[in-house]
């Protein structure tokens, strides 16, 4: 495996900051907005964005939850074994609210499709937006586009994009993993 660091250190921090500012542009004080991180890896992004927004907008009520989409996936019975589901923690009502779905890496778009279905179990939002820290372009299986993007990456299917977080992995980093071709 060959690793290429796409984002780390201060640049990572600036990217998160920029995403927060873009969100504020559209959502003002977030009184009508909820942030939902998609389990398992999108929750760290949503938590980080919520922390930064609370710093920028002190006194505002930023609502953030975790949503698991395992039971809504379209590859059940088509993969080796079922995936272990994670916890869903949403202590708010999304009915009539603006929802920002967040995931670390947007690739095929299938997770987002499942997330949109899972979300409906919690009510009918007024509007749904998508924020992705990494957008792997030209790899979509479904007509899904993000509204906010941290970084765009052109990659091939055999490559992998991994996002690390200080909270769980020790540092903030986006890495592109490529297999070394056999020569």
């Amino acid at each position: 495996m060959q690793n290429l660091t796409l984002l780390d250190g201060q640049k990572f921090q600036i990217t998160i900051q920029r995403l927060c500012r873009q969100l504020i542009e559209n959502h003002n004080d977030f009184s009508e907005t909820v942030l939902i991180g998609i389990q398992p890896r999108g929750i760290y992004l949503a938590k980080r964005v919520a922390i930064e927004l609370r710093k920028i907008l002190p006194g505002s009520n930023i609502q953030q939850g975790d949503m698991d989409i395992t039971f809504y996936r379209d590859d059940f019975r088509r993969r080796g074994a079922p995936l272990i589901p994670s916890e869903t923690k949403m202590d708010f009502i999304i009915e009539g609210k603006k929802v920002v779905l967040m995931d670390d890496v947007l690739w095929s778009g299938r997770t987002i499709r499942a997330a949109m279905e899972a979300m409906l179990a919690y009510g009918r939002p007024q509007k749904v937006e998508l924020l992705a820290l990494v957008d792997r372009r030209y790899s979509r299986h479904l007509p899904i586009m993000p509204d906010y993007v941290g970084i765009e990456v052109d990659s091939i299917a055999s490559q992998k994009v991994v996002v690390s977080w200080t909270e769980t992995d020790g540092e903030d980093k986006v890495v592109l993993l490529s297999e070394i071709p056999n020569i």
Binding site: R73, F76, A81, S86, E87, T88, E117, Y122
Partner: protein, 309 residues
């Protein structure tokens, strides 16, 4: 990713401690689903058809399985033996194969004979879930009982559970013993000598004939019904005498040194093995058991169906 070590759920006997833990973790998440504010179902099993075949009466188990299947978006067909061609002389394999010919993926079966589910699993293609076979096993009941204990105490290991009543005719008792032992709990059985199987000690359980002593020992008491329909001879002089010696009432419950938890797999015979004030008391988790039953059955069906066909 994680997978059960078995393709069918025939009994607790075929499950490892890891299997049981996986079922519990999955059931935790299905409890979240059942508490969702708007839509309390998921689409996971939308391309799976399940037949519920009941050769013996059931209310709770059949309803619970059917609800679990519907909450998973499976297609469900129900079959009750009393209104079928079984009464015209058709064999079990023929009945089930005819149902499978209509493209059914899983079969949930209750049968009055021990081993019926295992027998079926060897002769038909579908995945089999045992919903009770005679006096043998009732695995989903044992799983939901252990899950309810885990929910109440955080862990099953090290807990002391006494099963009181008709151990001899109870599939719930055997499955519970196997499941609780597998999870590291201490188990005792309590009842009249005639209703305790002779070699039950070989399963590693304690035996006690005095209800008060048993209750003073335990953290949880699982009260079983006297299964009069399975009793070919008289095992005790009268139901009244049984109630006097083995019935749990509020007076006994309040006289104990500690607050124990009371369970019952249902159906309850109020005033026989348990009085109404106990069944409806704060110490009773009988209705939690029923609620957890749906989540446990969703987890079992989900994990089995998720295996690559």
């Amino acid at each position: 990713m994680a997978e059960l070590s078995t393709r069918h759920l025939l009994g607790i006997k075929g499950l490892t401690a890891q299997d049981i833990e996986l079922i519990f973790e999955t059931a935790d998440r299905f409890k979240d689903v059942l508490n969702q504010p708007q839509i309390r179902k998921v689409p996971s099993l939308r391309d799976v058809t399940i037949a519920n075949i009941f050769f013996e009466n059931s209310t709770r188990t059949r309803l619970s399985f059917e609800l679990a299947e519907k909450r998973l978006s499976a297609d469900v067909v129900n079959f009750a033996a009393s209104s079928s061609s079984v009464s015209k002389g058709e064999t079990l394999i023929d009945t089930v194969n005819n149902i499978l010919a209509m493209k059914v993926d899983m079969v949930v079966m209750r049968h009055p004979y021990a081993g019926a589910a295992t027998f079926l699993s060897k002769h038909v293609k579908a995945q089999i879930v045992n919903a009770g076979d005679g006096a043998h096993e009732h695995p989903t009941q044992a799983l939901l009982d252990a899950f309810s204990i885990r929910e109440k105490y955080g862990d099953v290991a090290g807990k002391k559970i006494v099963i009181v009543g008709d151990i001899l005719h109870s599939r719930v008792a055997l499955s519970n013993i196997l499941c609780l032992k597998q999870l590291g709990a201490e188990v005792m059985v309590c009842g009249p000598t005639t209703l305790i199987p002779k070699y039950i000690g070989a399963l590693g359980v304690k035996i006690e004939h005095n209800l008060i002593k048993a209750l003073n020992w335990c953290d949880v008491a699982n009260m079983l019904r006297i299964q009069l329909e399975r009793q070919d001879i008289k095992y005790f002089p009268s139901l009244r005498e049984y109630t006097m010696l083995y019935g749990l009432n509020k007076e006994i419950l309040d006289s104990l040194d500690k607050e124990i938890t009371v369970m019952h797999p249902g159906p309850i015979n109020r005033g026989v093995e348990i009085t109404s004030d106990v069944a409806d008391s704060k110490q009773s988790i009988i209705l939690d058991q029923v609620e957890n039953g749906v989540a446990i059955r969703m987890a079992v069906l989900y994990l089995l169906a998720g295996q690559t066909p």
